[in-house]
Amino acid sequence: MSVLQLEVVTPDTTVVSAEVEMVVCPGVQGEFGVLPNHVSMLSALKIGDLRYRVNGKDEHVFISGGFADVNNNVMSVLAESAEKAADIDTARAQSAKERAEKRLAAKDDKVDTVRAESSLQRAIMRLNIARG
């Protein structure tokens, strides 16, 4: 049986490089799963939880959007930042969440709402993944 090679890379490092049985990605048009021998595809991803299965065990990785490229049983996920569930800094995510909430609550015209919202989204997603 063929396997799928998963590579999760960020500008600073390669987060995951492993042979996996299945990957579930948060695509911009909804979650999708990728199994070995998947047709070549390119998809944009949103902030979310990327799951992959090795030896029947599920692993979770936080990704802050990006895109995924599947070709010849190699899946590359390019994200601006990505962290394995165990590596997430919950204290930092918690404080980022509070900061973003405060900024949104302030209802000030100067606040960049779009940025605050996406940072809030990232923080919540990080916390969710870290808690499992």
Binding site: E7, D12, V28, L42, A44, F67, N72
Partner: protein
């Protein structure tokens, strides 16, 4: 003839300078190693981006995206100048700044108004003293560059380009080729030239029939997502390269300085010994002369 004490003090002074330059050399070499490994780690990301974008842009017709389109009337040009924050690295910053100012001159001769934005103190200071307009500048960030910084820098020109405030955008930085070579490089960021599929891709893949890619969302929408990020990737590369080049240039400069210190110490020691010898000789002449006078 300088006095013995002056020369001695000078030797001590040069010796202390030598210690400093030697220490700076070692610090720079440690930092260079870090910067080089960051470039290594970034390479797979950049390479993948390049491949994917090349593949995708060959599928989408013409200038389907505002960042690819060339503006008909060119009035404003943005130049992002990336230099180091600190000096003592030879002619490194000077070369980059000279390249940037040359580019700026070319552009203003073509009738464009040049807007600078700077990363690094040295470049900012140079632009302040030139006749060109200085926009945003990021000082004291070269020690802690990250993707967020590249993002901030790139977003500004991207928004400017889309709003027609800029009609061209260039990035001037120190390219890291090797330990001995860090030439300044000017890269045209916008209008974006989509990377082309490399020639080696023409060799047909042997793993079964090549089927078409599945795109989600549609090609042109995906391209719209990817193109601005490609600008970020290029800016980030410029930052990383400049940082590595800076350390390499500083290493070379400090190595030179240490060598010069050694040379100077040698010369000064020679002078010191000569002076000492001269004073001993003149004292001896005095003593011998005195003795002769008593005997005679």
């Amino acid at each position: 003839m300088p006095s013995l004490k002056d020369v001695k003090m000078k030797i001590v002074g040069v010796g202390k300078t030598k210690q400093i330059t030697k220490a700076m050399n070692m610090v720079a070499s440690a930092k260079l190693r870090g910067a080089q490994s960051r470039i290594e780690r970034f390479r797979p990301y950049a390479a993948k981006y390049h491949d994917v974008l090349a593949e995708l842009s060959s599928k989408v017709e013409g200038s389907a995206h505002p960042l690819l389109a060339e503006h008909e009337e060119k009035k404003n040009c943005a130049i992002i100048l990336v230099t180091s924050d600190r000096g003592l690295c030879g002619s490194f910053n000077g070369n980059i700044i000279a390249a940037a100012l040359k580019l700026a001159k070319e552009k203003s001769e073509q009738g464009m108004k040049v807007h600078f934005s700077c990363v690094g103190k040295k470049g900012r200071d140079a632009v302040r003293h030139s006749e060109y307009e200085l926009g945003t500048s990021y000082a004291d960030r070269m020690g802690s560059i990250d993707f967020a910084l590249a993002n901030a820098v790139a977003q500004e020109v991207i928004h400017g380009y889309e709003a027609m405030d800029f009609d061209e955008a260039w990035l001037v930085y120190g390219e890291f080729i090797s330990m001995g070579q860090q030439p300044p490089k000017a890269l045209c960021l916008l209008p974006l030239k989509a990377p082309e599929v490399e020639a080696q891709d023409e060799v047909p893949a042997e793993k079964g029939p090549k089927c078409d890619y599945l795109y989600e969302p549609r090609e042109d929408k995906l391209l719209a997502e990817l193109l601005p990020r490609y600008v970020n990737v290029q800016v980030y590369r410029g930052l990383l390269d400049t940082s590595a080049s800076e350390h390499a240039a500083r290493m070379a400069a400090m190595d030179n300085a240490t060598r010069n210190c050694n040379e100077l110490i040698n010369t000064l020691t020679l002078i010191y010994n000569k002076t000492r010898q001269a004073s001993i000789t003149s004292e001896l002449i005095d003593i011998v002369g005195g003795a002769e006078a008593l005997n005679g």
